[in-house]
């Protein structure tokens, strides 16, 4: 008996690293870490070795050399004398722009389709099912190409607008739909305040002024609403505010626009193309619609799931209180559904942003087409351009997900 109770001597043997549960997990982690580091080291070493074998170096100086190519859609000043770095910036802004408008439209499509899929109307419900199933089950690239092909093949060429008896005419005399894109009137200011030079690009002072006035108007409108609420709480009668709020919202901006000499510049056929106005190129429209409709189908399912996650008792209670269906949806169901909807929504927004890199299929000059396409090709800096592009996409995605997580925190159920 005595030898059984003798406590085991605390001797460390090498085999204990594997057989002793106290050390095993540490051993495995250490081995895994070493393998991981060795793998990384091998990748880096291989890269250096092969670059050396090819006689290439690794540097980013090409970003400061002349690009030499033109980009059709640029939000900042750009011509072929600018640098590759600036071309990259132009591409980045095109990427961000298409991502932004696609996220916005996809959300609209998704929310509408998701809510309507739960409609009591049989036809509406089935139509939405068809939309969702058709669009999310066919690859995005095909949708982009289909919409692009329809735009280029089915729309009239600018020359069809020419002559005494043109075969095509502009909508309302202002919007021209052609096989090269849609031309809209552009806002112009005859007494413009000019631009502010921010070093990298110019910012229109007119736009800033309008935004400031608009923000001030909205603030005043909010104050008015709060005041009306206070009066209602005190006296039980809500004062009539609609004309005041309309005045506050519209009048200041209107006055500012008149002061700036606002007018519309209409597109007009001159030479080969329409000149003047804003051109939304076919590539932009195809990419925008395809991304929005495709991702909208996914968002619709997320919205539907979110709504169905709210217990039926909630809507019954709302109906019992006498709320109409629309108000029940807006005030009771959606606010609660949002906390279920938003986390998967973040992934959809990230998907849209990453899917914008399919732009090259229709010749939309995004980051992939400028930095990862023409610049890479003309300079032959594959590794540098690819790494930089990966870094930029990663940064954009992390920023989007960070912002959306903040928003998520603000709408999620506050537990006390």
């Amino acid at each position: 008996m005595a030898d059984v109770t003798t406590p085991p001597k605390d001797v460390f043997r090498l085999s204990m690293l594997i057989y002793d549960t106290r050390y095993r997990s540490l051993t495995i982690q250490a081995i895994f870490m070493i393998l991981l580091m060795a793998g990384a080291a091998w990748l880096v070493d291989n890269t250096i070795h092969n670059l050396h074998a090819l006689g290439k170096d690794f540097n980013y100086s090409f970003l400061w050399s002349r690009a030499g190519y033109d980009i059709n859609q640029h939000f900042i000043e750009y011509n072929n004398d600018d640098t590759h770095g600036r071309a990259m910036l132009v591409g980045l802004m095109n990427t961000l722009f298409i991502a932004l408008i696609s996220c916005a439209l996809a959300t609209v499509f998704g929310v509408v389709a998701g809510v309507l899929r739960l409609s009591n109307n049989w036809i509406v419900r089935k139509l939405m099912s068809i939309y969702i199933e058709a669009f999310r089950n066919i690859p995005l690239l095909i949708w982009i190409l289909v919409i692009f092909a329809v735009m280029t093949e089915a729309m009239p060429a600018p020359s069809a607008f020419r002559g005494e008896n043109p075969t095509s005419s502009m909508w309302f005399g202002a919007v021209a739909v052609t096989n090269r894109g849609v031309y809209f009137p552009e806002p112009l200011f005859s007494r413009s305040l000019g631009n502010i030079d921010l070093g990298i690009f110019y910012v229109s002072t007119d736009l800033i002024a309008i935004l400031i006035v608009l923000a001030a108007s909205i603030y005043a409108y909010r104050r008015l609403g709060r005041h009306a609420e206070k009066v209602q709480n005190a006296t039980g009668v809500r004062p009539v505010t609609w004309w005041k709020s309309a005045l506050i919202l519209i009048a200041p901006v209107l006055v500012l626009l008149i002061a700036l000499g606002f007018h519309l510049g209409y597109p007009a056929l001159k030479g080969f193309n329409f000149q003047g106005g804003i051109q939304a190129r076919n590539s932009l429209i195809a990419l925008w619609l395809a991304l929005s409709i495709y991702t909208g189908a996914f968002i619709a399912e997320i919205v539907r799931a979110g709504i169905q996650a709210i217990s039926r008792g909630q809507s019954e209670a709302a109906f019992a209180l006498g709320l109409r269906p629309s108000r029940t949806m807006n005030l009771v169901i959606l606010p609660q559904a949002l906390r279920v909807i938003i986390p998967p929504m973040i992934s959809e927004y990230l998907n849209i942003t990453k899917n914008t890199s399919l732009a090259i299929a229709v010749g939309y000059m995004d980051l992939r087409a400028t930095l990862g396409g023409i610049t890479l090709n003309q300079t032959g800096r594959e590794l540098e351009a690819m790494l930089l592009m990966m870094g930029i996409y990663l940064a954009i995605s992390l920023i989007i997900s960070g912002v959306m997580n903040l928003y998520n925190r603000s709408v999620k159920l506050k537990e006390r």
């Binding site: 091998w42 291989n46 090819l54 006689g55 030499g68 090709n377």
Partner: protein
């Protein structure tokens, strides 16, 4: 211990990778197949025919090299590359050589680390427009929408040309020739610009080629030729001298018809040296003595290849022009086989 073993393996793997990229000729012989980068489809230069067999001017160059190195002109794996993917494909070893109407430029030769082995087609960039546009000169193209293949020298020439002539244009970037064709025919662009040979080839595939004209302006020099990776001089020599043999073959009157007879021996020592009747050159190149004979026999000499794929009897109908032999007022000229 583990790490050292691992690093040892890694290091030897690197060495092997280095060794593998050192001798393309041996790699090709070992694989029994030449991986040749061509266009994704440009009639006359490289395009699959109705049976799926690649045909064209560049294709024949690949076949000539395969015939010289492997003894069989059919042992070629054609890898279609776009203007964007071609250089990466060559640099990474995905293809052994590029015969993809690629322009020889300073930066591609020096900075991208490639070796251009010669010029098999002297070309220049031009513009094609529909006839009904009523344009007779490229100087009238101010404000036009121009379809352009991205990642090419034409993209840069276009920008330079319009800038120099103080004109504006709207570029429509496009990945392949087929897409460009579709856009151009749909009228989504007024002008299609690329090398004039490419324009002629593309126009020949249209349903109504006569509705389109190639404008007279040639806005750039586009010397097209096969290229290989820099740093493998033996392989570069093989491809270079196969190309030279095709031109020299035409110069000396060696055709696919009379090559068998000539290889029995002639009283022209240069023909004897090329065809291996007078041995020595094959060994210097790391090949057997029949290399040039097989290369020329595969598709004929330069003139035959040109006539069969691009010449005036084909739908593309290009005249020899600058690509005639030097003896006939052209620029095609091979260094002597001596």
């Amino acid at each position: 211990m583990k790490t050292t073993v691992f690093l040892g393996i890694a290091a030897s793997a690197c060495l092997m990778a280095g060794a593998a990229s050192a001798g393309t000729l041996d790699d090709v012989k070992q694989a029994g197949e030449l991986k040749c980068g061509v266009t994704t489809g440009l009639a006359g230069f490289a395009a699959p025919d109705s049976n799926g067999v690649w045909q064209g001017f560049d294709v024949d160059y690949c076949r000539a090299v395969a015939a010289a190195v492997l003894g069989d002109p059919t042992k070629v794996k054609f890898v279609p590359t776009t203007g964007q993917t071609r250089f990466t494909a060559l640099a990474s070893g995905e293809v052994d050589m590029l015969a993809r109407n690629t322009t020889w430029t300073f930066s591609r030769d020096v900075d991208l680390k490639f070796t251009f082995v010669g010029i098999n087609y002297y070309d220049g960039q031009g513009f094609m427009v529909p006839k009904k546009l009523g344009v007779s000169s490229a100087k009238e193209l101010d404000g036009a929408t121009v379809c352009i293949q991205t990642g090419t020298t034409t993209e840069l020439n276009l920008a330079d040309y319009f800038k120099a002539n103080n004109m504006k244009y709207e570029p429509v970037p496009i990945e392949t020739n087929a897409e460009a064709q579709q856009q151009f025919l749909a009228g989504a662009c007024d002008v299609y610009t690329t090398d004039r040979s490419g324009l002629a080839a593309t126009r020949a595939t249209f349903a109504k080629p006569d509705d389109y004209v190639v404008l007279p302006e040639v806005i750039s020099k586009e010397p097209l030729g096969p290229l290989v990776r820099q740093g493998d001089d033996q392989w570069a020599d093989v491809v270079r001298w196969v190309s030279n043999a095709l031109v020299e073959g035409e110069d000396l009157g060696i055709t696919s018809a009379n090559i068998e007879e000539l290889s029995k021996g002639t009283n022209n020592p240069e023909i004897n040296r090329i065809l291996g009747t007078d041995p020595g050159f094959g060994k210097m190149l790391g090949l057997d003595e029949q290399w040039a004979k097989r290369a020329i026999a595969a598709n004929g000499n330069y003139g035959e290849i040109f006539a069969a794929n691009l010449g005036e009897s084909t739908p593309i109908g290009l005249s020899r022009g600058l690509n005639a032999l030097w003896t006939q007022g052209g620029l095609q000229y091979s260094p002597p086989f001596r």
